[in-house]
Symmetry: C2
Subunit: 560 residues, 2 copies
């Protein structure tokens, strides 16, 4: 008799992704579905496994987005189509470029007439997207759902004026820089910053998750760079941090200056001086995270992006920043030019930075271990795991490990504290998969960076992929976006080789994944099959991952 | 008694590359060495195999560079160090950027005080390099030798003035755009265009090469885009063209306009119109090449580079070209912006172009088959083999093959001619190696593009690699530049997987290599070991490849 209810969900599967067409209904129905499964189990009609099996991982995604506090009074100025669930707020920007720039200093909402592939980077950078035109399958809608980003489309009552950098609804004018809130679950556009409630794991939902945990074998960690995200993820059941990207910490306004001083320094001495300013800030970051993650492993990844990302690119800005830094325009301009690369994603980034500028690795290692000692002294258990990015050859790893271990021993000796730690690497360069046996001999653990592995394995730029991949999917050349769901046949084969080679020399090697795929149900099932120890994903995907990992076990049992 | 002579060669092996320190002596000695080996064999002192064994492939490189006609009267204005053998001439440019730009329209010589990693692209683009400072192991010298490019360094008598864009020697002023000739074998700098003689394969050298041919199992083809290069390579013993890059044909001044019209066209119709202008030109190119290569296979590769390479990038130029093309500045500017990519090497290039713009593939296929029919009618045997670049998935190949086969049949039907042809692919995307079995089912042949495979396999941008790879080599992190000599452990493992998978479904699959490594002795030995059918390299490397392929057999016999 309960079946009727379950079939009320309206969804569509398009190119391998499941879309809830009626997200409000979807949300309600997903909630109902969870409740029914748990109730049926409690009534003894089905067992826990069957209850878990009946709830699809894609479905609970609906339950995991922040929403506008239903009790709050808000000023709704317009209504569009609810294209991708969740609420988001931020300063209004009208171009992808502004979104990229300004998102470095705070949250932004990208407002466009409609979006096109050129806007992808800006969509990534924004908290949410609002368009005046387009339907549920418009570019903005499809891409935002793929990114899991709140999005309202087809909001026909607003008029966007790119020239004046403002949009109008009736008499109301919203200028660039003003804050709005959008609700991708209902289509509402709200003036100002609406109070939000974060989704919670409680009641039947929490119970079902616990049952999933009993079934699953894969660990579930989270990608988190701040204490806030780490805490959220922990509440969602994350068993550690699988990827803490340290570069985000350098973009804050008070820090980017020291970072820039470091970059423009003429020698190692100059770099060290600037890095000394960054050290206490990094240490604070790590202290915050270690505290929240008490007792759980925290994988901290060393600096990854190419340095020019920290420098201004336009002459005007260069002039400004040069003044701020007290160097000549020409000097800064020359530095910017010198760092410019034709293909930065294949350039001077990842461990290549730490190798050419060992001072950076030293500072980061010092910050990590000083933070660890501090939190340890507070009586909390800390489990730091340092991860070296973009390793393609074991010599790169050796070089960085030597620095990390040296600094770790120095700090701990000075503090008189002994903390267990690991030094591992990302496997995200195709070559690394082929020489993973050599790397595994030196590394304590490794984690597949499937974002870069997909990028390089396919030869698809993460930044530019909007130019032809949508066309590929439309034409059936690719079944779906390989950056969203792991390409098992090709990239998966590389991953398998990496695992086999690694375990051939170190059978107990701890192996995880921290690319975006770590939150995708199909990819998670693959990770289970190939024997990874854990997946790591963004906080809001943690419950999805827990459930997917359980489904992986159930499907395996069925196959037998 | 002959041994004494052979030990007179002065060379040094640095980071896996052999450098003749005294190139004049080197050249003479290499010649002597060949003569001695051949003579000893004829005298019955050693057998042919031993004669071949005694001449090292690296050594004969010395004999294979163009030199200034010894009988010509030339005006030597300065003398520097002979840093990399061979002679070259071209218009003088003073910056790497100018070298890149102006090399599209003719030969240039890059003149610098000294070079640095930022100049790599310019060095690549130039015919030869001249520096005022630096010794035999300066940046310019080492890099030029690596590239096999004529280079004179430490020419202290010249004064370079970047501002005025000129250099001076005594009273003589050479301005940007004036032609000079440099002789990297002697260090001479000559005003104007000196007459050159191209190296020839004759006498004992030719004889030794024939003996090498008797021993080797690998075929040797050439990378050539013009009838001139094809003819030269054939004289050097090339057994076909392994890679004819078609994009170079579009950079000529009379063609780039039509190419640009194609790119800015608003729809397929507009593109077709512009492509129709290119068709007869492409056909002429292919006719020339088919004639020269009569009776031998010619692999023609479809358009590969990202389209923005054909468009101007600076506002000033955009304005100029817009006028020329009869479109507004804004329209062209928008097009340029729209095509801009953050990582063009991982972007919209290779078969991705032919898939999104099938008209391009159609035009190219038509030009190839019309040319083939024409040459066939002249009574010459033509063996066209069309190669699809940058395939990562079999569906991409299928899509392009369908177009090629359809056009081929149409043209041949119309001409009433039946010509055997093959349609194959490059394996140059890491993923392609992992799915090579699927691809091999559809492809008639394939050729490893180890330039891109190295680029993506390592995640090293070909254009930016100067930023840290020299440092890596200095620090011993990498044994040598993986773009010069194949990284057997990593990229080689990918190649092996590709071969095994391909032959698992098609045991007789024809497999070659056409990356730069096809001319490198160690890489050639690897290609022999893994069972490739042929290597393809630039014309001047063909004899080196023939000898290396023979050495591969001899070494294998020794190992047994
Ligand atoms: C997790 C990864 O690192 P990032 O996305 O920061 O490059 C990855 O490459 O998969
Ligand atoms: C031969 C190749 O193609 P290109 O150098 O033109 O990219 C290659 O990638 O190895
Ligand atoms: Mg990465
Ligand atoms: Mg290539």
């Amino acid at each position: 008799k309960h079946y009727r209810d379950m079939q009320d969900i309206e969804f569509t599967i398009e190119k391998g992704k499941l879309y809830m067409l009626q997200t409000r209904t979807g949300k309600r129905t997903a909630q109902a579905n969870v409740k029914i499964a748990v109730d049926m189990c409690k009534e003894g009609l089905i067992d826990k496994k069957e209850a878990v099996r009946r709830v699809k991982p894609e479905e609970i995604d609906q339950l995991l987005h922040p929403m506008i506090d239903p009790k709050a009074k808000v000023e709704v100025i317009a209504k569009g189509l609810p294209a991708s669930p969740g609420a988001a707020k931020g300063k209004v920007v009208f171009s992808a470029q502004d979104a990229v720039e300004e998102s470095k200093e705070g949250e932004v909402i990208l407002v466009r007439m409609e979006t096109s592939p050129e806007d992808i980077a800006g969509m990534h950078a924004a908290q949410g997207i609002l368009t005046a035109r387009g339907g549920m399958t418009s570019h903005a809608a499809v891409v935002a759902r793929g990114m899991g980003k709140p999005c309202v489309v087809g909001c026909e009552s607003i008029t966007v004026d790119y020239e004046k950098e403002e949009f109008r609804v009736g008499d109301i004018v919203v200028k660039r820089g003003e804050v709005i809130t959008i609700d991708g679950s209902t289509g509402r556009v709200i003036l100002g910053s609406a109070p939000m409630v974060e989704p919670q794991l409680k009641g039947e939902f929490a119970e079902l998750m616990r049952w999933a945990d009993e079934i699953r074998k894969l660990g579930v960690r989270t990608n988190a760079d701040t204490p806030h995200d780490a805490k959220l993820a922990r509440e969602f059941g994350a068993e550690g941090i699988g990827l803490c990207r340290t570069e985000h910490m350098f973009f804050a306004p008070d820090r980017i200056k020291a970072m820039r001083e470091m970059i423009i320094a003429r020698d190692a001495e100059g770099r060290k001086k600037a890095l000394e300013k960054l050290l206490p800030m990094q240490r604070e970051d790590f202290i915050g995270i270690f505290r929240v993650m008490e007792g759980l492993p925290v994988i901290i990844r060393l600096l990854d992006p190419p340095l020019h990302e920290f420098l201004p690119q336009e002459d005007e800005q260069i002039r400004e920043i040069a003044e701020e830094l007290g160097v000549s325009f020409e000097e800064l301009k020359a530095k910017v030019e010198g760092l410019r690369e034709l293909n930065p994603m294949l350039g001077h980034r990842g461990c290549r930075l730490g190798i050419t500028y060992p001072e950076i690795t030293e500072m980061q290692a010092k910050a990590i271990f000083e933070a660890a000692c501090q939190v340890y002294k507070e009586g909390k258990k800390v489990i730091p795991e340092i991860m070296v990015p973009l390793v393609g050859d074991v010599n790169e790893f050796r070089n960085q490990k030597e620095i990390i271990v040296r600094v770790a021993e120095e700090v701990m000796e000075k503090e008189g504290i002994k903390i267990e730690y690991m030094v591992g690497t990302m496997i995200e360069i195709p070559r690394a998969c082929l020489v993973a046996d050599e790397i595994a001999k030196e590394a304590d653990f490794y984690s597949f960076g499937t974002n870069d592995l997909t990028q390089m394995g396919f030869g698809f730029s993460r930044d530019d992929v909007g130019k032809f991949v949508p066309y590929y999917i439309e034409k059936g050349i690719l079944p779906r976006d390989p950056f969203s769901s792991l390409d098992i046949k090709g990239i998966g084969a590389l991953v398998k080789i990496g695992i086999e080679k690694g375990r051939s020399v170190k059978p107990e090697l701890e192996i995880g994944i921290c690319g975006e795929h770590g939150g995708d149900p199909d990819s998670i099932k693959f990770c289970h099959k190939v024997g990874m120890n854990y997946v790591s994903c963004s906080p809001f995907r943690v419950p999805v991952a827990r459930l997917s990992a359980a489904h992986a076990v159930l499907e395996e049992e069925e196959e037998k």
